[in-house]
Symmetry: D2
Subunit: 252 residues, 4 copies
């Protein structure tokens, strides 16, 4: 795919996202998209393309900093719940409540018991959101160890990306296996009817972005797309059930 082809296709898909938001506003739909994935898996970039032409007043990107002490003592989902969408709103979480099963587990930022409780509670939590009519789209952006290394190295060299370099990056490669194990347990235990996980291979950024948007558009199923929305490439975007069935693999 050339750059021009990518840009053209991206613009086509963004037109459909605009269709979808106009429709969602009219219908009072509530959209909640959760982006998860290792450091440098491409969360920020994907979110940028999705929101590029959406309404600034109806779309919120939520990227919470680490919890304060008071927040730590509260119900874990509390500080996320206050940002959930009302009618017509789109809320995109750049990392989310799943921190507890990912970075917090690997880095020891919470207790094993808290992490276990999270994994037990997340399915009922999301089932309630589903019951409330919130369209919940959960995306796991999956990057290979090699590509992550390349991106993290690149970040460190790029003066524009210094704010992306976090102390946690330093151990991302080192703790690769721990993150893989955390991811596997997390996906396995939180994949459910009201909040299924979709995996996206992100080693090729452009393919990942285009297919992520295609997937979102398919899930939203807006009846009024002014253009054909091709199905996502099944090798790039696939439900976690395909992984369970052994038909697809996540990076190890």
């Amino acid at each position: 795919m050339t750059d021009d082809e990518y840009e053209a296709e991206l613009a086509r898909l963004q037109v459909a996202l605009v269709d979808a938001q106009i429709w969602a506003q009219a219908e009072g739909k509530k959209i909640c998209i959760v982006f998860e994935g290792r450091d440098s898996a491409g969360k920020d970039g994907a979110i940028k393309r999705i929101t590029e032409h959406l309404s600034v007043r109806q779309t919120r990107i939520i990227a919470l900093p680490k919890p304060s002490d008071r927040e730590k003592s509260q119900w874990w989902f509390q500080r996320y719940a206050e940002h959930l969408p009302a009618a017509g709103e789109w809320v995109i979480f750049n990392r989310s409540w799943y921190n507890r099963a990912g970075v917090e587990k690997v880095m020891g930022f919470s207790t094993p018991q808290e992490q276990e409780i999270f994994l037990r509670d997340v399915t009922p939590f999301e089932t309630m959101l589903d019951d409330a009519g919130i369209i919940l789209i959960k995306l796991w952006l999956d990057i290979s160890k090699k590509e992550q290394k390349a991106r993290l190295d690149d970040r460190r060299a790029d003066p524009l990306k210094r704010l992306k370099v976090s102390p946690l990056d330093a151990v991302a490669q080192e703790k690769w296996d721990a993150y893989s194990a955390a991811r596997d347990e997390m996906l396995r235990r939180s994949h459910h009817a009201g909040g299924p996980w979709t995996c996206v291979k992100t080693d090729k950024k452009k393919d990942a972005r285009l297919n992520t948007i295609r997937h979102i558009l398919h899930i939203l199923g807006c009846p009024a797309y002014s253009l054909d929305v091709p199905a996502p490439d099944a090798d790039i975007v696939f439900g976690y059930d395909k992984v369970i069935a052994g038909e697809r693999e996540l990076f190890k």
Copy 2:
């Protein structure tokens, strides 16, 4: 019980509540007490006695007005969740998320489907609070039809109580049976290990208040009560399981 005896016993129990809050602060306990019951069942009065000597900065009474349109479109529990207690805090709900199964059902303020979803979701919701270490005490204040009539009549005659008279009072007696049916389904479906219902007979206000406090103190189980806390009177305060077992009855 004379007035003096009542005041003396109330003061004794309030001393134990003070013990309990000092302990809860030190231990970082999170206390959440939910008061439910028909109009005039005695929620405001009980809450007043409980909070009388508690810390104004660590205790919050939450009495939400009816939801705005935007709130109506959100996840039902969202506007309640933001008030849940952090470490050391006591939060008392004067009416709560249970509105959906009570007044909203009887008055048609939400759809039957929304009410059904609530009854399905409230147990997992509260189970999560329990998992988070929140001590959840749910109280159903049970008043008889006759006593309610007397109190509502009294309110209408008392210039001090005009702000308690709500348009909904007018139909409380008329819709008595609908409220009873709503209550029965609500209690039955939301009585669970992490959030058991306790019923309190409130036709006799003083007995009700003293025994409510005794119950709270027993549940909190603060090891350092400076005074003996008598068990609540089992004819006034009883778990909803007693009703299920046919050993106690709620007013019809």
Copy 3:
């Protein structure tokens, strides 16, 4: 005044408060009452009597705990501003933004520069609230050194009042003069047309409470009081301008 006379007069005045709230709801008035005063000056007790028969859903008592580190770095008025009343609401601050000029100054909880900025900014801040149609009633509860000592001693002896005993009480007497100086500067610099200070002598609790309510009722000037509201006793309740004019004195 006997207890019975006090109770009777309190009830009469509370009836007028109920009148006032009914009127304020109908007219969409926004009421904001600020209670300031030294430890044990009677803030909690006065607030209790005022709110006793008001609507729990339209009246909020705000008693904020000490600011978190994040809050400390924000605009000082920010965490108070979020609680200001909307149409029909009554908000009562039990201590307020004036902490910066009182306890924070005496105890050194903020810098002299922050305290100076506060004293410079508070008048424009309140002028804006006044411009916004918020009825702002600022009360300085004035207690004598001797009476404070008696009350603090009493607190320490009373198991019911243990939650009122704060580490700051211990130095209240010792730092009496520093508190007096802080008070004098605060009142002098923040007494202005849109937010005048009213002083209340509180050594006699009952007189203080009755006269505080009378003052509030006079300020609100609800046209529909169902009972005559006597003017407050000019020796107990007086504008700070009387102090400026040398006609009244605050305790030294």
Copy 4:
């Protein structure tokens, strides 16, 4: 300026923005940037370039929808105040409290009295933010009538920009003069030492963006810019005092 030159210079300036945010975090600076200007003046586009490489967790873009009825009854600044920055945070307002003096005045969304109050209160409000150490950067993006027409026409034709088309656009040209008059009064009355207005000519988008960033960088005055930051072009970016002095003109 070719596209490549623009991109190269943009990247250079963004590197300096990254420097500035790293410094602001370390120093606990609080940054608040207000973007104002007519429809299509280029607010969204400029904000996008500024935030492109900033930390998603320390930077918030606030683009509030129209106020609810409850919000309308509150102190006007209240719903904005809650988003003000704490230490280390950058908050960018895409339209702001100035709505009251612009769109609300021209469209009659509030009363003349409310608008007058706003113009009287905004200077003391912002002076307080300045006193609180918030670095407040207020930008008026100034577009010509002709260029606005072209952009609005373009929007209507571009399926990607449909969410930018608002009912208010329809009258933007028609009410051009009313908007000019509102702007002139607004700038004149709210230009003050603690919150000076800077005007940016935005008919040439690229020049506008680069110079806007240069201006921000100069104001921030981070000592550690790793690159030279050229001064903004004085014909594109200029203080409102230049307009007052008759040295520069805004579009009529």
